[in-house]
Symmetry: C2
């Protein structure tokens, strides 16, 4: 029986991991208090979250940093790698393609595609931009598992449909639009525009 980890806890695990990585250079042990400080949450929150992974701490002592990192990595599925296609070679797509953080999580970009003939054939971070029309064959031949949508919002749904048709079952959507997909496709969204809206709200508060 796999323990179901609450989504709020999952969302904090990557932060704990980064925090542990920072601490691992100076120590081998840490307390929930240490992690809490680095991650910007309470110590009780940290202990509660880590309890979902099982008991890996030692009472009176704390957690072994390396061991805890291994546990978190296992839970987050960082033992696997995933092949990614980036759709959209504009500013956002370029930034994503250049982003070094992907390797950390086991994401390997295998193609960058666009439907703009001016961009096709140009180079981005060592990748040659390929035609959007080739998406199906690229997905099939390179066993692409994840599609990142970095297109203007108007194109995003079409891209999602094409990715789905090609057999991709996981999408990271950076376009500020809610995609309509079947239940077999899991979509996550990162929406800078919405974040700016929230920021604007807080700024306008007295």
């Amino acid at each position: 029986m796999k323990a179901p980890i609450p989504s709020a806890t999952v969302a904090r695990l990557p932060r704990y991991l980064r925090c542990l990585a920072d601490m691992s250079t100076v120590s081998s042990q840490c307390s929930s208090e240490h992690i809490a400080e680095g991650a910007g949450v309470t110590a009780a929150q940290v202990r509660k979250d880590l309890s979902f992974l099982g008991s890996h701490g030692t009472r009176g002592v704390g957690y072994d940093i390396d061991e805890l990192m291994v546990q978190i990595k296992a839970v987050l599925g960082m033992t696997k790698t995933f092949r990614v296609v980036v759709v959209g070679a504009g500013n956002l797509g370029s930034a994503i393609t250049n982003y070094r953080g992907f390797e950390t999580w086991g994401f390997e970009i295998v193609a960058v595609v666009d439907n703009d003939s001016n961009k096709i054939g140009s180079a981005i971070d060592g990748f040659t931009v390929e035609a959007f029309a080739s998406l199906g064959s690229i997905v099939a031949e390179r066993a692409v598992q994840i599609g990142i949508i970095a297109t203007p919002p108007a194109a995003a749904q079409l891209v999602a449909d094409e990715l789905t048709a090609a057999g991709v079952r996981s999408i990271l959507n950076l376009a500020p639009i809610v995609l309509k997909t079947g239940d077999e496709v899991s979509v996550r969204r990162v929406d800078l525009s919405t974040e700016l809206g929230i920021l604007a709200y807080h700024l306008s508060q007295p």
Copy 2:
């Protein structure tokens, strides 16, 4: 007595607004059901959220799209504009500077700075990259209100300190690190790396 709007509601308002903007081209009225579909939430959720803004709907009819947009814009503070400095002219900083979504929320980029002498003087989207050392005078002379941190994580805290010292009271932090700032500074974080971690978790689930 200003009604305190729950943070979860605030986070959804920008999405409702975009959704309403899309619908406004084809209709002048809409129901909570329509908004819910476009925003990917339940109709009950929409009505509950909108109730915090006051009663702007008509029972049996729905909401007037234009009027509702005005209400949401007012609540989100979109009647104001904010001057922004982008710190970091790397890939992320460039993508941010090129991002057209800023104007929507009243954010006006007035400077892009970096501490890399190779980047200083180069052009990004019409801006000439200026020296990080000039941050203080730039903030003062151009009345900068918001700092966007688009640097590597190792530099982010220093940048935050400098922004704070220069008098900036709002920071959007794109670096994957928790900033330590005084209570007078409000920080929001957008962390692509954490999002990738969450995505990896969901991908590795059966």
